[in-house]
């Protein structure tokens, strides 16, 4: 090869060459280049995937699903019966959205979603999970003490409200259908969607009440 390897020093910068990426980044680059050469992955498909998850998919999708369910009782029934199909009606489908289950909050039941083993999450409607969802603290505490977790987050539930925790898996992914806030009868779907946060669809928050109105 003709060039001098120098593995003895730790510097990541050589004056003659370019900045060397981190060891981790080099491992990814090595694996990717080998898989591309073998025809096991297509670089264009990888770029398209990254673009999709960085800029096109996020909790706004889920908020539109929730708003539609609030506004259209027939849609809500379809959503609760077969979530994947009902969500696909709005154009949201793809990886990690194949077997969706929507769990409905009611005045007597609050639902909370976790993945205790890893990070299963409904990508087509929520995007990729936030850091805390992937943390051991949340994965363990959500099951052991869901009321405590909710209370710390400022979600205070009446004592007669029961909490159900849903453990997502690689086969089933859950989305919470929050309770529609009061005083929202006159709002259009798009305005309703603005009230729906990502966290309310995981079950760690409640939808925000419309601005300027009493809760």
């Amino acid at each position: 090869m003709g060039d001098n390897h120098d593995h003895d020093h730790d510097h990541v910068h050589d004056h003659d060459g370019q900045d060397v990426p981190s060891a981790t980044a080099l491992r990814v680059k090595a694996l990717e280049s080998l898989l591309v050469e073998k025809g096991l992955v297509d670089p264009a498909a990888l770029d398209a995937l990254i673009d999709t998850y960085e800029s096109k998919i996020g909790p706004r999708n889920g908020a539109r699903v929730v708003a539609r369910a609030w506004a259209d009782p027939a849609y809500k029934q379809r959503l609760l019966k077969d979530a994947s199909s009902a969500i696909a009606e709005l154009g949201y489908s793809g990886a990690q959205g194949e077997h969706m289950v929507v769990v409905e909050n009611t005045p007597s039941v609050h639902n909370l979603v976790v993945c205790t083993l890893c990070s299963c999450y409904p990508w087509p409607v929520l995007g990729l999970p936030p850091v805390w969802y992937k943390s051991y603290a949340y994965r363990s505490r959500a099951v052991i003490d869901p009321r405590g977790v909710l209370a710390e987050l400022g979600v205070s539930l009446a004592e007669d409200v029961s909490v159900r925790v849903w453990d997502s898996t690689s086969e089933i992914r859950y989305l919470v259908l929050p309770l529609r806030p009061p005083n929202t009868d006159n709002l259009e779907e798009e305005a309703l969607a603005d009230l729906v946060s990502r966290d309310s669809m995981i079950g760690v928050a409640l939808p925000v009440a419309p601005e300027g109105r009493a809760r």
């Binding site: 090869m1 060039d3 390897h5 003659d16 060459g17 370019q18 900045d19 060397v20 981190s22 060891a23 981790t24 980044a25 080099l26 491992r27 990814v28 680059k29 090595a30 694996l31 280049s33 080998l34 898989l35 050469e37 073998k38 096991l40 992955v41 297509d42 498909a45 990888l46 995937l49 990254i50 998850y53 960085e54 909790p59 990886a95 990690q96 890893c118 990070s119 995007g127 990729l128 936030p130 850091v131 805390w132 992937k134 943390s135 051991y136 603290a137 949340y138 710390e152 987050l153 400022g154 979600v155 690689s170 086969e171 946060s197 990502r198 966290d199 995981i202 760690v204 928050a205 925000v208």
Partner: protein
Amino acid sequence: MSLPDRAAGLPGLPKDGNGPVFAEPWQAQAFALAVELSRRGAFTWTEWADMLAAVLREATARGAPDDGSRYYEHWLVALERLCLAKGLTDLGTLDGRTDAWEAAYRRTPHGKPVELQAGDSAST
């Protein structure tokens, strides 16, 4: 999203503002590789989730920080292991290719595309 990130305030949980989806480009690449390999049938998503869960369990067991910030490092370990287990590549080839890329960066002048040379590492 303009809504407040309520969970960011939970004591004991890592904060997570509405920052970028991937903190560094390699995280995006590692993410996409796993999704694409699964989509093309190199492994099932259940096999992937099982492997990732095993790596996360090991990290917890050895007391590694598991606040979610090192998630994609665990993701990469799971990806490498599953690729090796499925025979998509082997450890010697992978290590050799990693060294080859490092050498390529070191020898390539600024502003030039970084490329491997013939003989840098075998691809089989």
